[in-house]
């Protein structure tokens, strides 16, 4: 027995209940829509809830940096609940991407400097310089190029180039930037007020995940970790980011399916609930099959990564491909089941569909992950 499980344990189920109850109060449909279409970057009251009452922000950060030191399957439970609630804000960018990049870089000094404030919710941070379309479906590095030891000779590293699709860049106090260097992948720390930094919000289909373009014009930055800090950080994110996003997608998929089922039970046509028609119930049964299988695979993948089991790399591809498809399938089925009401602006169903679309493309399309699985062969 490897200790890797495809089921949630009792403690995880308890955490799930607690989070679901707390988030349901803050993430109703109208609140989601208001946040999605408003001027605010995120809801400060909700951030405070995650921070204080739920203690989620530093959940998976190491305890020595003020985090909760939770294993990845527990982080996965939190992400499933945030995905279900269509949480919009800097949780994933700070609590997952930045935290894992810094931990992965092995830079203890930067960890001690940044992560305690990040865990206390005072520092918001994000990661820039990743591309989502690497040949194996996993994140790669592109766009930003770093040069070191420029003319002033003080050893300052400078970043030049464009980083696209940066999560929650507005409001971030720190940027962890992956860049190509003469020595391979580098990972750097900078901040938005550094000279040569320009953050532009991108128009977006996903109204609840704000993406930006960050331009670097010889912006000064500090390298993270030793010479291989960048490649170590990237290696960690390549595995963890797709599976964490998969966990979030499972939550979104479950919510869409539940909303569709709820509507199919209550909506009557031809004198009976539409959910009694096989055309409706069979579609929802198919969604459940995909969601349950993707969930089992995602929970297992989180455990496989935590335990560094030999099938972890395979399960990253499986989880991301399965969860992305399941969420997209579920969001589509929700709108179809709702009928006309599902096509209105006021109903939050489209917000889930939009999130499902963006998540498919981030950290590798399902098709790219499948090509990686198909090429991989037996082992």
């Amino acid at each position: 027995m490897t200790g890797v499980s495809a089921s949630l344990d009792d403690d995880q189920i308890q955490l799930q209940k607690t989070l679901r109850a707390a988030l349901s109060r803050h993430c109703s449909g109208p609140a989601q829509l208001a946040l999605a279409t408003g001027e605010e970057d995120f809801d400060p009251a909700l951030w405070k809830l995650l921070l204080t009452e739920l203690d989620l922000v530093g959940l998976a950060a190491p305890e020595r940096f003020g985090g909760g030191g939770a294993p990845l399957p527990v982080l996965g439970v939190a992400l499933m609940e945030l995905g279900r609630a269509l949480y919009s804000g800097p949780y994933f960018s700070s609590g997952v991407l930045t935290t894992q990049a810094i931990v992965g870089s092995g830079d203890e000094a930067v960890g001690a400097e940044i992560l305690p404030g990040l865990c206390r919710g005072e520092v918001l941070a994000t990661v820039a310089g990743l591309r989502d379309d690497g040949p194996d479906g996993l994140p790669g590095v592109g766009g930003v190029v770093a040069t070191a030891a420029t003319a002033d000779g003080d050893g300052t590293h400078r970043l030049t180039g464009v980083a696209d699709h940066v999560w929650e860049a507005h409001g971030a106090h720190r940027f962890v930037v992956f860049a190509s260097t003469r020595d391979g992948v580098g990972c750097f720390l900078t901040h938005p007020d550094a000279p040569g930094m320009l953050v532009e919000r991108l128009p977006g289909m996903d109204l609840t995940r704000r993406l930006s373009r960050v331009r670097f014009a010889a912006a000064p930055a500090r390298p993270l970790g030793a010479l291989d800090g960048g490649s170590r950080a990237l290696a960690r994110l390549r595995r963890i980011a797709p599976v964490c996003l998969a966990a979030e997608q499972i939550g979104g998929a479950e919510h869409c399916l539940e909303q569709a089922v709820d509507h199919a039970k209550r909506r009557h046509q031809f004198g009976r609930p539409i959910g009694s028609f096989q055309a409706v119930k069979h579609q929802l049964a198919s969604v459940l099959m995909d969601v349950e299988a993707a969930k089992a695979a995602t929970v297992f993948a989180l455990g496989a990564l935590e335990h560094e089991s030999p099938d972890a790399a395979t399960m990253v591809h499986v989880a991301k491909a399965a969860a992305s498809d399941a969420f997209f399938h579920a969001a589509g089925a929700l709108i179809q089941t709702l009928g006309g009401i599902g096509y209105t602006w006021e109903h939050p169903a489209h917000l889930y569909l939009r999130r499902a679309v963006s998540g498919r493309a981030q950290f590798g399309f399902p098709s790219a992950h499948r090509r990686a699985l198909g090429a991989e062969g037996g082992h």
Partner: protein, 415 residues
Amino acid sequence: MNTAGAAPTGGDRDVDSDGEMFRARVRSLLAENLPAGWSGIGALSDREQEEFRTRWRGLLHENGLLAVGWPIEYGGSGLSPREQLILAEECTTAGVPQGGLNDNFGVQMLGSTLLRWGTEEQRRYYLPRILSQQDIWCQGFSEPEAGSDLAGIRTRAELVEGRWVINGQKIWTSYGHLATHIFVLCRTDSSVPPHRGISLLLCALDQPGIDLRPLRTLTGEAEFNEVFFTDAECPADAVVGPVNGGWPVAMSLLGFERGEAVATLAIRFRKDWERLHHLAVDPEGPTDPVIVERLGRSRQRVEELRCLGLRAVDSWVAGRDIGAESSLHKLFWSEWIQETTELALDVLGMEAVTAGSDGLRGVSFPAAEAGTPNTAGTWADYFLRARAATIYAGSSEIQRNIIAERMLGLPREPR
């Protein structure tokens, strides 16, 4: 006699909570009894397979590894769910069967049903005879006019002078030609609603009132039979559960899915996938990226199934009933078989079209047996057999109804 795989005693259990000692015993039994270079029963010819199954069943029986879920007092081995899982995993990985062809009906279905519904007298009489193969069982449920709507069965049984007299027809009886007995679902009261007038009877096949005819399927083979009953007889006490109360008995008989079934299926599918990968991907040259992606999808689904299986096993070990989730599993794996064999045909192209009749050897339900030769003929045959996967054991339409109604709580279709 070989005792390497004998069931552990209670004392062993305490020090073997994760079952690894038991696993070691099973492995040594396999190692001692399989020839060098063994790749699985699928590598044997039809005739060799038959001989091997007979020998292997005997070996499992001798070592108390045949009726693993039955209590010891009835000849079972009383293995814990974890040990049952380990045995299934090891046998599947080694490519050896866990019993004879009809043991699924005798040991799994009828045995489990008698343990739950049978009288003490019935258990003492029938269960040892299942193990010794004095009685070899097959199933008589479906009828030409009662498939998905099983409660609509028309085969009638009447008590006449202290014996049941049975008239009617059953169909899709797997391995009926190898059986001596049939458990047969009969209408015993036509004056009440369909579900309330059904009884499960136990009937010998070797009598003038029974005519068993092979049913040739679209693969060209005849692993199923039709069974005709014309005043066939069985004793009055050969009824499992209450007279006219056979519907819940039949439902529980169909529901004895052990948690390891789906977990071991993933092991078998993984072997299939590796065979297909070997055919499809040329390590020296480029492979059509569409084929690579479809292979990836097939692998993705195998791993998803493995995780569903692990989850089901967790429930089973914890003593929870997986309930309608077994419908979800069945839908998932039946679709995998079709999708993957369709991919195999696309990979093989005209090779599959012109493949000879050296198809899957022997019996391979529902997946190919380990060791099956990686030829166009086996894949072509596997593809044809896969058409049945979404029909037998509850069609995909019925499974989706069950999933929607029992797992999602959607309302029933008006009936």
